[in-house]
């Protein structure tokens, strides 16, 4: 192993991370530990209710752990004084249900996160245009979400997740609401963007065939990580 990489601070690090609901009656995460390096594409998989979506929400500072810590470049995410700044600058979310704002057009939805950046009105528009072009929606700029197909909505959401050029993409079952043809196209798009732009991506899925596309697979069960398979170990496993 490269010694400089070993000493480098990982992008994400979970230390005995726990999240309980209903006063401890539901234990979604039970002392999870892992590190993720910059540029990795990690799939988190497991049966429904295993805690994978809860983990993703903690990574994105949408929720707070009950115990343990979660570090971003060595800084504790739950203790950040301005979690919204972290979300705006470092995180791009892609949700299963797209989560677009219904009263804004495709072009406007992509610009929404940019209000938290220092860009001018013209720069915001230009950036949104470029991103929608990147996801192949240059002909749907002024369509409201209700006038777009599921695949198109997810493309808008992907463009929006890249609005502030985040270092970390968090995707929660991004193809879960799509038919197989669209699912395939969207997954290819996400992976292409992740690889071309060298961003770190954590993708939650219950579908093993989607998880297989990742460089590393964390398998979860009952709130714990039961296996951590990297590309190298997958290779070793095959041979």
């Amino acid at each position: 192993m490269n010694p400089s990489a070993a000493s480098a601070i990982p992008l994400l690090q979970a230390k005995e991370l726990s999240r309980e609901f209903d006063d401890g009656h539901v234990r979604a995460l039970r002392g999870v530990n892992f590190s993720i390096q910059e540029g990795e594409f990690v799939a988190i998989t497991g049966p429904s209710g295993c805690g994978k979506s809860t983990l993703l929400q903690l990574l994105g500072a949408l929720d707070r752990p009950t115990a343990g810590d979660l570090l971003y470049r060595g800084e504790s995410i739950p203790n950040m004084p301005h979690p919204s700044r972290y979300r705006a600058a470092e995180i791009g979310f892609i949700f299963q249900a797209f989560q677009l704002l219904p009263t804004f057009t495709a072009l406007e939805n992509v610009q929404i996160p940019m209000f938290e950046s220092a860009r001018s009105r013209a720069e915001r528009r230009e950036q949104a245009l470029a991103l929608l072009k990147l996801v192949g929606l240059e002909n749907r700029l002024d369509h409201f979400p209700s006038k777009l197909s599921g695949g198109e909505r997810q493309r808008v959401a992907i463009a929006r997740s890249l609005a502030n050029e985040p270092s970390l993409l968090l995707a929660d079952e991004p193809t879960g609401n799509l038919d197989s043809e669209n699912a395939h196209a969207i997954l290819n798009l996400i992976i292409r963007l992740q690889q071309e732009q060298g961003r770190t991506m954590v993708l939650v899925t219950h579908d093993p065939s989607i998880a297989e596309r990742a460089g590393r697979i964390l398998r979860m069960k009952d709130g714990q990580i039961v296996s951590d398979q990297t590309a190298a170990s997958k290779e070793a496993h095959r041979s």
């Binding site: 979300r87 704002l101 009263t103 072009l107 209000f115």
Partner: protein
């Protein structure tokens, strides 16, 4: 797209509800404009009337209802002897319901006094002397009562002929019934009484001269007061009550407006919980959420204020031309009043948005995303 687009889009999501809320605030603001405008218009009209007659100091009793209590008319002679007085005249003024008109000013003026000087005859003639049992009508009063020269006007139990119609150069004068002091004393059973002494000072008097004279009048008439013409109305009990009532009625209307906006903004926050979750997830700060909701409610207030002052001005116009009231009102919708009304509306908007904005900003993003 600007932040304003986001704010506007928020209001336009439910156009009907936004519209109804707007109507709610506008009614409150319209009430402010109309009631306060009428009250201050009244103040202005009285001042104009005093100016038209050429009165510098008004002497009257302190106590009384809408009109001060009567005193013995010999007071005038005592005031006339004071240094710095040019002319004096006694007046007996009553507010009465005359025939179909609800409230009309009946002004008994000392025959030969300066209160008669500035009236210019439009039709008919002036009374022949102080003893003639006849009245002249201000031109608006003639219109409201639908009287011509030769008709009769009933005051108390007496029917007095209209001998002339005059222009008195102010709404109050034109809306009044004028007759000789003696005759009105007779008719109202107030022999030897008046309730005002109007005082004129020499043209070269200074402000200090006038206030010194007021002081001297108070010395010989301790139970009464002597006010410089411009201060008469603001010191009148009746007017103070009218002003207080117009503001408190307006306040009530404003409170209703506040509750309306607050309700709308709370509904908005509840309905948009999921969207606020999305905004938080894409990195919006809580401060920006608060700002967005406050801007929406402030904009609602501003629009309500603009619609409200238009409604108020329109309402006052209609009132001004309503038979029975016409001629009595001379509302004053000063730019200051209109600006104040709009400012109140914006403050109403912001205040009503505070709690909803706070609620919206306290949402937990993960939970908000799961909502509806």
């Amino acid at each position: 797209m600007t932040f304003f687009t986001v704010v506007l889009r928020g209001l336009l999501r439910r156009p009907l509800r936004t519209g109804l809320t707007l109507v709610g605030i506008s009614i409150g603001i319209a009430a402010v404009v109309a009631l306060v405008g009428i009250a201050s218009g009244y103040e202005k009209s009285i001042n104009k009337q005093l100016d038209a007659i050429g009165v510098d100091i008004v002497v009257s009793n302190v106590s009384g209802g809408f009109m001060p209590k009567v005193f013995d008319e010999s007071l005038e002679a005592r005031i006339a002897k004071l240094p710095g007085v040019a002319k004096t005249t006694s007046v007996l003024m009553e507010m009465q319901s005359i025939e179909d008109a609800p409230m009309m000013m009946v002004s008994g003026r000392e025959w030969g006094g300066f209160a008669w000087e500035k009236l210019s005859l439009m039709e008919g003639r002036m009374p022949g002397d102080g003893a003639e049992r006849a009245v002249v009508l201000g031109r608006m009063a003639a219109e409201v009562l639908k009287k011509k020269v030769g008709d009769k006007v009933q005051i108390e139990a007496d029917e007095l002929p209209v001998v002339g119609i005059v222009d008195g150069r102010s709404v109050v004068e034109n809306g009044a019934i004028m007759l000789s002091l003696k005759v009105l004393q007779d008719v109202t059973d107030n022999q030897g009484k008046a309730n005002f002494v109007d005082v004129r000072v020499p043209p070269n008097s200074t402000k200090e001269d006038v206030s010194r004279l007021c002081q001297r009048i108070k010395e010989i008439f301790p139970e009464g007061r002597a006010l410089v013409a411009g201060e008469v109305v603001s010191n009148s009990q009746g007017f103070r009550i009218a002003r207080a009532m117009s503001w408190s009625t307006s306040l009530l209307a404003i409170i209703v407006g506040v509750l309306g906006v607050m309700n709308t903004m709370l509904m908005t926050v509840f309905e948009r919980t999921h969207e606020i979750g999305i905004l938080l997830a894409v990195g919006w700060t809580r401060r920006r959420i608060i700002y967005m909701i406050l801007c929406e409610s402030a904009l609602l207030g501003l629009l309500g204020g603009l619609v409200g002052i238009s409604l108020g001005a329109l309402g006052v116009q209609i009132l001004e031309h309503t038979t029975g009231i016409r001629g009595l009102l001379e509302p004053s919708l000063s730019p200051k009043l209109l600006l104040t009304a709009v400012a109140i509306a914006v403050v109403v908007g912001v205040v009503s948005g505070l709690y909803p904005a706070w609620r919206g900003s306290r949402l937990t993003p993960s939970l908000a995303l799961q909502a509806g």
